[in-house]
């Protein structure tokens, strides 16, 4: 890998770190990996609003699964 590539990656990492800091401050409850996925998706053209809505919906679903699991005796 060329040093240029490495620089590029490190810059990306720094950006991600900074975004993660802001994310933490705002209390988005996104871990670094999920944030990385989301950033990648937005960079790939995903609509941020829709993505946020999807994440919220997925979280709700997760809550319901978790609530259901003990009820089923799992």
């Amino acid at each position: 890998m060329s040093s240029r590539e490495a620089d590029r990656l490190s810059a990306a990492q720094q950006t991600l770190d900074l975004l993660h800091d802001i994310s933490q401050l705002l209390g988005t409850q996104l871990d670094k990996e999920t944030l990385a996925t989301c950033v990648s998706m937005i960079e790939s053209g995903a609509n941020p609003e829709a993505l946020a809505a999807v994440i919220q919906e997925l979280r709700r679903e997760r809550t319901s699964i978790n609530a259901q699991s003990p009820a089923n005796g799992r």
Binding site: L16, L25, S40, S44, N47, P48, A52
Partner: protein, 1162 residues
Amino acid sequence: MFPSSSSGALQRPKSRTSHTRPPSSSSLRPSSSAPIRPSSSASVRPPSSASTRPPSSASRRPPSSASTRPTSRTTIRPTSRQASSRLIPFYPTLITQVLGLHEHVEGGDEQTEEDEVRWRNAMEFVSESLSGHGTKSVGVDMDVMDKQIRGHAQKARINMRDKWAEALEVAYSKLKEHVKCQKDLDTEVKMARLPDHLQFLLMLSTPPTSQMLANASTYLERLKHPPPPPATLTWKEIIQDEPFEGDHWAGIFDEEEGSEDSELSDWGEERDRDIDTDTDFGFGLRGRGESVSSLDPEEVHPIPNHKNLEEERDPRRSWAHRQGVEEMKEGQYWRDEWVSDVDSRGERVFDIGDSSTLGPAMRRVLGEGLGAKIDGVVRERYINEVDAVREILIGLQGRKNLLIEWQSGGQQGSMFIPSPTSPRLVHLTLGSQHSIISSFARIATTVQHLRKFVEVVFELSRVYPTTKGAGERYAKSGRRHTKTLEAYAEAVDVELRTFDSWCAGREEQMLRASFGVVPEGEGKGLVASLLSLEKALRDEFGEVFGVLLDVTRRVMLRATSRSPLPPSSSTTAQTTDLYVLASLPTQQPPSHQTTYLLNVLLGCVSENMSMGDGRTADGVMRVFGRSVEVVWGWVGEWLWGGMEVSEPGLGPGFTGGGDGRGVDEEFFVEDNGFGIGDPEFWVEGLTLRGGDWDVYGRKEKGKKSVPVFLEGVAEDLLSGGKSMGLLRALELVGGVGEGRVWVSFQELLVRSCEEGGKVRGDGPRSGISSVSPDALSRLVFDELLPYCQTAQGRLTRVLCEECEMWRHLGAIEDIYLMRRGDEMSHFVDTLFAKMDTRQHWSDFHFLNSTFTDIVQSSTKKWVEPSLVRLSYRGNKDSSITRTVKAIDGLAIEYAAPFPLTYLFGGRAIGIYNSILVFLVQMRRAKSVLDRILVRGAIGGMGREGSELKMFYAMRSKLSWFINTLLDFVVTNVLHTQVLRFHEGLRKAKSLDEMIQLHDDHLEKLQGRCLLQDHTSALDRAVQSVLDMSLYFSDCFVAFAGDTTHDISRVSLVMTRRHRSRHQRRQRKNIIGFSQSLLELGDDDDSDSDSEHDDAPEPSFSLGASSISLAEEDFFVRLDKMGSELDGLVRFVRRGVESLAGGTNEAAQAFGVLAFALEDWDR
């Protein structure tokens, strides 16, 4: 469930901004694969599982797709027309990360089937939701974001969350700055997308919580203090590794092969391996972040190629540097390169005004050869006195230095001596320097010996553990020192540390002063000279270390010596190194060692105080105060808890107290192994340990092994602890020191010093100062006595109130001292009646049943018959008709309940019994005499009146003596003494005092009844008189027939309503003044015995006589008896007079008897 799966038509989730979305095209989405699914496999599901499932979920659960499951996930993917293909790879990742589901694995069980359905629904939902907006950008620009972020910050500030606002702004500005710097078009995160990212985050944001505020603070803190970079690879680590193993060796051989690029290419390869080139972004997927972060260029520190650079830049190779180093070395007095600023080459002539010329001049005068021979300094190197003082201070702390050195195993033991290679001082001659340094060497030696002693003691205590049992075992075997010695070693260690820190402080002061750093108040008038140091040492510490060394040596010699003799003063013993002594096993009992140590210490305090050396005395007192803490702690435990009580045989009431605390081997109280139920336990069970040697090793018999300052209170301590233990055994324990706090010994000393200071008017003094042994004893006495008295008082109360001591004492006195006149008289009369009729009177059952009957017939219950047991232990052959000694075998036992057994133990009851026997004997004699009647009828028998008068006279003489004696015993001995005893007992404050009073009381009774060994001759005389009475009675009966009558026998009749035939028969032989009265009183008796109406028989009967002596012999015998009696009475009188002439208390009582006996001659 997702909206889509529940309704069949997709409901797009509402965004946070609440703008309505255009109707989704997904409504046109073909229905899921559900219709083509086979019938649900739910029917085969186990009912149990189904029943527990919520019905809603079960009913909506899509039918299993197991059988017709599409081969690939992609087949069920909605045919989203606009979905960006670029987004599709992210969907599974996103779902996994957010929802926690994983893609279905073939052959999964039912559970995974359910998850599979969820997974598919989620995939559909995500793709539907995102494909709708696809790549459409909402179009927010950076300004909007700026505003929004500012708005958030402002809002937070209004809500007093300044930190959070600040953190947000800082983070935001950093981000912007960072992205602006990224001019590269290929960057992963583009500036243009930044608003989208921010918008995304803002939409997910939640109101600040405390956790977020904490995060903000942490974030700001991290910015201010960035963490240190991770440790880089060092040469040391590389060398430590196995050769040519490890990553850092990877490039070496390539480099050696001469390929310049190989290192780079290796790095490149490695990075390529780390980063998945399939994805656009290195941080995109699980686990990637770590590999990327490890490649953070900021954290990677490439190893520079220093090879040539090092040589070029090494400052050590420069001349200037070398020069500097040499100059510095010259300034260091301990180096050979040291150059003194005094011209010491000896060319200067002696100048009396310049002290620095003295040393060299002297040396020059003495000459090289001679100088070398003088003990001590041989090399001529001069240092400044300040430096010499510093070296001495270092040496005093036991460290290596230039002036004194440790020489071990010399003739006089190990010691510090002036170093032969020590540098000289210019203003001192060889002799004076040697003398001064020798003085310091002595001090250093003393201190060093103490240090080594402390070290050995600590080491031994570390090697042998202190667990209970084991610690004592080691102490017994002499492998471990006593706890007090360990405390002493610690106290010495504290003093040594004080000494060391004083030395270090002084050195610091000097160094500070030499650099001009002199804090306020310090270093004022600081003189750095050897002599001033010596004076300061003396002023500060006195002779304390010398004294401590001496004490330690004495104590260790004594402890390790086999004989109990005081430590020998032989040279060998005195020069044996202390640490050698401390390593030897000890031979003396631990308590002796402890007592000896404490006594010697206190003795030293006293000696030094008397010599006016307050400084030394204070120092030794401090050590004493710390050393004594161990014993003091035991004293506290002893007073709070008492002795260990464990007596399994005592039943449930007496199990308390035993919590495993034994009396320590070292404590001055000794457990002699008696059980608590043993009557001797109180007196013999726990005693003060004996030790026959005083502080100075002088033999002293009967001396207790109690530390001298506790001697005054030791007996009270013993008694108090025992009282406490007994209370615990009786489960009546309460805090003995209620309202009192047990203070440590040092606190006690400090308190007393403060009080003493106030009294003297010189203000409270801080710390511990020496107290004279007498004052200390008084102090300890005043401190401990209240504890002892409380415990003793409680026990006394318990004994009197709950154990009914007075009731039992009364019963005992009623029985043994016959203070219960009627009942006991009835009892002995019954016995005498048996004796008179020559029946077997000593039968066990007869004795006990008679006594029980008499007690029960009494109106007042004065004794519990079950506690009393009568028996006869005498020789059955000895006839009661011949001697009163036959009564000696009568024994009455009174079983006092626990814990009164301590007071009325076997010994006490034995003495009581002997008094009872004496009383019964006298009464027997008296009763025999009283039965002899000399009446006018005898005259009618034709006898000479004078003959009978002789009998009468003899009887009167005997009666007079016996009555006098009995009267004296009953009135002047028993009654008087019992009253006195009761009076004393009421005032008694402890069980020990009660026991002591009781013993004294019994001793007095015994003595005054002439029952003690030294009055045995008198006792024998009295016995002879009593026997003579019996004999006289026999003679009289032989002479005159049975004319005896005992009026007291009436009592038998009165005791029982029912009269036996035997009694009636007896009564017929009685003629007495009470006869008619009795007969009158018994008229109503319906007894129809034929003998009842018989006329009274004559008061004497010839046939009753068994003595067939000639009549003439009677008078001879009477004469003999008379003279013998006279002799006996005079003997007794003389004896009693001599007793009355004594100076003791008994003299007064015997005076009464002597006075009474004076009438014998009249």
